[in-house]
């Protein structure tokens, strides 16, 4: 594997799942914390190919820089770690089970993560961004290549709230918690039967919603027990131990957009 540096935010959302996946892989990769909400992700040194960072669908997530190439998207970074390690058990070996895992992860990244990012940013990052000095914010914005990503930063700073998106996000989070709960009804320990990236990705996005959307978890006892199991894994504990603030689950920066249509 190429010499690489993982730049990550506080262990929450995509930074949490990628840090935990790295721990699971056992690979020796240098990790450097950055402040995603200050735009540090867009000023990384040693990046000679930034397209995947600039146009990441997941928004402001962690970045692995290897051979000068900025690599992004949490699920794919987890797959990368698994494969670079020669298979550390983060992906099922059977092609059909792997398809099931990919389908689950796609649901998590298309439905759950935009919803969590929307609510999390409004709750915990909007005021910080609004308080930023104009010059600093303009400098931050000018470093962001993607026009639509810039727009999400601007709307967050301006406090633009779409009531329909808020409601849609709350519904999607509750649906996903219920979906996890139903999936575990056959007594399985992990979402795909064996532990996988699906557990890390889903846990990393649901975890911050325990405080913000407690009703979404009401009565979802199997989901809550599963979250406790994921949280107890040494890889997740070590990832969370990288926090530099007391509440990493409140650390958000503009994430993926909610589907434009259909």
């Amino acid at each position: 594997m190429a010499e690489a540096i993982l730049y990550h935010g506080e262990p929450n959302g995509p930074s949490l799942s990628v840090l935990a996946a790295l721990e699971e892989s056992g690979l020796d990769v240098e990790c450097r914390p950055i402040d995603l909400l200050s735009g540090e992700r867009h000023a990384l040194r040693g990046v000679t190919d930034s397209v995947a960072l600039d146009f990441a669908v997941e928004g402001e997530g962690p970045v692995l820089v290897a051979n000068g190439e900025a690599m992004a998207e949490a699920v794919f970074l987890a797959q990368y770690f698994d494969e670079a390690a020669g298979g550390c058990g983060l992906q099922p070996g059977d092609p059909y089970e792997r398809w099931q895992m990919l389908m689950w992860c796609r649901q998590a990244t298309e439905r759950l993560s935009p919803a969590v990012a929307y609510l999390g940013n409004l709750a915990w990052s909007q005021k910080k961004l609004a308080a930023m000095a104009n010059d600093d914010f303009e400098r931050l914005l000018s470093a962001i290549a993607s026009v639509d990503q810039r727009k999400r930063w601007q709307e967050l700073r301006d406090g633009v709230v779409d009531a329909a998106k808020v409601e849609d996000s709350r519904v999607k989070i509750a649906q996903f918690a219920a979906r996890v709960d139903a999936h575990l009804a056959d007594g399985r320990v992990w979402l795909m039967g064996v532990f996988s990236i699906a557990d890390l990705e889903t846990y990393a996005w649901l975890r911050p919603m325990r405080a913000l959307e407690p009703d979404a978890f009401a009565g979802q006892d199997r989901c809550l027990a599963w979250m406790d199991r994921v949280g107890a894994r040494p890889s997740v504990k070590r990832a969370l131990a990288r926090a530099t603030s007391p509440g990493p689950e409140r650390s958000f920066a503009p994430g993926p957009e909610i589907n434009r249509w259909g």
Binding site: V57, R106, W261
Partner: protein
């Protein structure tokens, strides 16, 4: 009877992905043509296969698989034949990145423009009641929203402008990418090429100002290379030529 059955529309965009992947691997399959404009995908016989009513869907033995990109990954892993993913982990990551970029960022913009200019007008002669009835039987709420916009021409100017902006941006990024490597995301023909070819081969026909030999020489070189693959020719013969005829003619012109 083959062990694989594929339910697909034209060899284009999502349907074209598993069709081409199966052809590249040399896997025989029973082909079920689902006419999207006749709404075959929302009829009970198809919903019995895929209750979500999306195309394509593939049945392999007892297994039913949906979502075109994930089906392709399954096809590559489950069947012998040429590898459609390179062995190097960073190349595999890059291929996945490009497929997500197409599926979730660029593809929906292609799709919105296509539905506005092709699908909507193709259905405009149907009565309002008939269109409402067709929408009512779509299982997924998100797809109901999409079809309603297409059937009743409800796309706003700003939505379409944003889609056109993204298409122009995406074409530029793809042109740059193909200047770095022989194929999309690696130097080997892969799932990324299949994915992106299916959504971009119509560019020289539909958006000749954006994609042509002078403006996008790298894309042009790559389109011609992929077009010449026997799997593409075999696959396109399974369609009705709705989208491929004009590109075929263009390629003949530049042969």
């Amino acid at each position: 009877m083959a062990d694989v059955t594929l339910y697909h529309w034209e060899p284009n965009a999502n349907s074209g992905k598993p069709m081409l992947a199966l052809a590249e691997k040399g896997v025989a399959y029973d082909s079920h043509y689902i006419d999207m404009l006749e709404f075959d995908q929302h009829k009970p016989e198809y919903l019995a296969v895929n209750p979500q009513g999306t195309i394509p869907a593939m049945v392999h033995g007892e297994r039913v698989l949906t979502e075109s990109t994930a089906i392709m990954e399954y096809v590559d892993e489950a069947f012998p034949g040429p590898d459609l993913m390179p062995p190097e982990a960073q190349d595999r990551w890059r291929i996945r990145w490009w497929m997500k970029f197409m599926d979730q960022w660029l593809g929906p913009s292609f799709s919105m423009i296509g539905w506005c200019t092709f699908v909507g007008p193709a259905l405009a002669q149907r009565s309002v009641e008939e269109r409402e009835a067709l929408i009512a039987r779509i299982p997924l709420p998100e797809r109901r929203v999409a079809w309603r916009k297409a059937m009743f021409a409800e796309f706003s100017d700003s939505e379409l402008a944003e889609s056109r902006r993204r298409v122009a941006q995406g074409v530029k990024l793809l042109e740059d990418e193909l200047g770095k490597r022989g194929y999309v995301a690696s130097n080997q023909y892969s799932l990324a090429d299949i994915n992106i070819f299916n959504s971009t081969y119509s560019l020289p026909v539909g958006s000749p100002d954006l994609c042509n030999p002078q403006a996008t020489p790298n894309i042009w070189r790559w389109l011609r290379t992929v077009y010449r693959r026997p799997a593409v020719q075999q696959t396109w013969a399974k369609g009705q030529g709705r989208f491929t005829d004009r590109f075929n003619a263009l390629m003949a012109e530049f042969a």
